[in-house]
């Protein structure tokens, strides 16, 4: 708790945490929605914001305010699945590469470098296209997790490399600790902050890719997410027709979400280790 109070002193953390709380509360509102998000034509189309429809309605005949609550919830679910699963891959790859070294290191790092260089999003687009029919929140999260570990595995590896040279590693090995125990008991406490800050970055990445895939029309377009809301707005030429409230809602929500996640990760990683600043910004 002391940690949390210290973090709150950073205005960026306080602001980002506040915004995130508001967004989560907004997402939770979806449980009280009077409308079914998968059904269209429940309200008159293309109404401006009014007392009855706070953020107006769209051309599908959905209330934008309530659709947006579902959208934030679903986007967050995808992000959490992608973030947590890809953390597991990144930790395993980074630790094996860093600790084992040699051929293991070279092969694993070659794979992660390749993932970094290749325009990944096109490969993800190809995969999404093929499994389109079975693409739901969970499978999309897993698909993103499968591709989202490369950079963070590199960061974890370089930290393990430096930990391996420390004296306590020798002490632990000489006193008979197994590799597994060594990694869990001795290395994990050092890498946890890094894993946590990469988790937040990775969630932002996943939300971004979800929006990308949705704009390309590759997701289940009847499930509201930040991306599918934008898809329908583009599809119905909302900007050209002057329905600004329709475009503005998902854009404002995602801008708030991206800034909040970024500021959170910046302030946490600076608090935990000022030296990670350079590494973090280098993550592009």
């Amino acid at each position: 708790m002391k940690l949390f109070r210290d973090l709150l002193r950073d205005y960026r953390f306080a602001f980002a945490f506040g915004v995130l709380c508001i967004l989560v509360a907004f997402a939770l509102l979806s449980f009280f929605s009077p409308y079914d998000p998968s059904r269209w034509g429940q309200v008159p189309r293309d109404l401006r914001p009014s007392a009855q429809h706070w953020l107006g309605t769209d051309s599908n005949g959905q209330d934008i305010f309530w659709t947006a609550t579902f959208a934030v919830r679903n986007s967050l679910i995808i992000a959490v699945i992608a973030g947590v699963v890809s953390r597991i891959i990144a930790v395993i790859v980074g630790m094996v590469a860093g600790y084992k070294g040699g051929t293991w290191d070279r092969v694993l790092m070659f794979f992660s470098d390749s993932l970094l260089v290749i325009p990944l999003f096109l490969i993800i687009v190809m995969m999404a296209m093929l499994i389109r029919a079975s693409l739901n929140l969970v499978t999309l999260g897993l698909l993103l997790a499968f591709f989202g570990w490369a950079w963070d595995a590199r960061l974890i590896r370089s930290q393990i490399l430096s930990l391996r040279e420390r004296e306590f590693t020798q002490t632990a090995i000489l006193s008979g600790a197994s590799t597994f125990k060594l990694v869990i008991n001795e290395y994990m406490p050092y890498t946890t902050p890094l894993i946590f800050s990469t988790l937040i970055n990775n969630m932002a990445w996943a939300i971004g890719l979800e929006i990308t895939l949705a704009i390309l029309g590759l997701l289940d377009l009847a499930t509201p997410t930040l991306g599918t809301m934008l898809y329908w707005a583009i599809n119905y030429q909302a900007i050209l027709l002057g329905r600004w409230w329709w475009v503005m809602t998902p854009i404002t929500l995602s801008v708030a979400l991206f800034i909040a996640l970024y500021w959170l990760s910046v302030s946490i990683s600076e608090y935990l280790d000022p030296r990670t600043r350079v590494q973090r910004v280098g993550a592009g």
Partner: protein, 334 residues
């Protein structure tokens, strides 16, 4: 030594990455339980086409040939590479029988023009401002720029593109909302056409430029602050070297090195972002081509764009990496 320790491993990695990427493009559709031939036939049926059994067999074998699905998996794989080496990416299914490579070549100048200009300008501007902001990090203007970068930096390209579109094209009406040039204009080297292209590409270019400049600004500022603390800078200051000379020759020059590596690593991300930005502005480049290919289920075209992009990006990264020794004497004389 330079050849053996730097160039050759890098070239081997280049070839391996391309082989890996293209192999993935080949195998992904074949590993997944989804037969493009059967799907195409199902789509034809859904549109109400009645097929005689004899005609059906003919269509199946034609489709198999078109998708490169003849023979064993290994034969298909070799044939795939054979065609690639001849520059043959197959024919587009929905603009039959235009070869995919022709469609890509029509869209490419638009994307290349937009990307090259914005990537290079963004890198130069971001590093320049970031360098000075890092050196004078206590000044008020440096802090203001830092705050702006903190807000802009986390936004994805297309979200930022939407924001600019809403403000400048929809609300202020300074720029056109979509397209690459005025409707009905034929591409030529005439002044009115060039003017129209610049006019239409200004907002897409700005959305990529500002964002990438913000990224370079932030990294550069941090690196410069670190270099600034090194003893050779203190020594130069104490020996009375002019400040302008210290910033440009001592600090920024040293700090630029990691930025060149960073440029290589980020090319793939910038490229992906630019494709979606194009879709937001209906700019007639590869991104919009990809969008239409996905809408039409034109599988050959998507594969073609992916293969082409893998080649283009890995080659650009290689070029950036090979330029690197020109700037870093430590590698040149190794």
């Amino acid at each position: 030594m330079f050849l053996k320790r730097y160039l050759i491993p890098r070239l081997i990695q280049y070839v391996l990455v391309i082989v890996l990427g293209i192999t993935a493009v080949f195998f992904i559709p074949r590993l997944l339980p989804n037969d493009p031939v059967l799907r195409t036939i199902a789509e034809m049926r859904a549109r109400g086409a009645y097929l005689e059994p004899g005609a059906m067999d003919k269509i199946i074998s034609d489709l198999q040939q078109m998708y490169g699905l003849e023979g064993s998996l290994w034969d298909q794989y070799l044939a795939f590479w054979g065609r690639l080496f001849r520059g043959d990416l197959g024919v587009s299914f929905f603009q039959f029988p235009t070869p995919v490579i022709d469609l890509i070549m029509t869209a490419l100048p638009w994307t290349a023009g937009l990307l090259l200009t914005t990537t290079i300008l963004g890198w130069v501007i971001g590093n320049l401002i970031g360098g000075f902001a890092g050196y004078y990090s206590n000044k008020q203007w440096s802090r203001v720029l830092d705050a702006i970068a903190m807000v802009v930096r986390p936004l994805p390209y297309y979200i930022f593109a939407f924001a600019l579109l809403l403000i400048f094209a929809y609300y202020l009406r300074w720029f056109p909302i979509s397209g690459g040039a005025r409707l009905g204009m034929r591409p030529s080297w005439s002044w009115p056409f060039i003017q129209s292209v610049l006019w239409h590409s200004f907002l897409p270019a700005m959305s990529i430029l500002i964002l990438s400049a913000a990224v370079w600004f932030q990294t550069m500022k941090l690196v410069v602050q670190n270099v600034n603390a090194e003893s050779f800078v203190t020594y130069a200051k104490l020996s009375g070297v002019k400040e302008g000379r210290i910033v440009s020759r001592y600090v920024i020059r040293n700090a630029l090195l990691p930025q060149i590596t960073g440029l290589g690593l980020s090319l793939g991300l910038i490229f992906s972002g630019a494709l979606i930005t194009e879709i937001v502005y209906s700019y007639p480049g590869l991104g919009t081509l990809l969008y239409n290919a996905i809408i039409n289920g034109d599988y050959n075209l998507i594969m073609g764009i992916t293969v082409f992009s893998i080649l283009a990006i890995t080659t650009s990264v290689l070029i950036v990496d090979l330029i690197y020794p020109l700037f870093d004497p430590r590698i040149r004389y190794m």
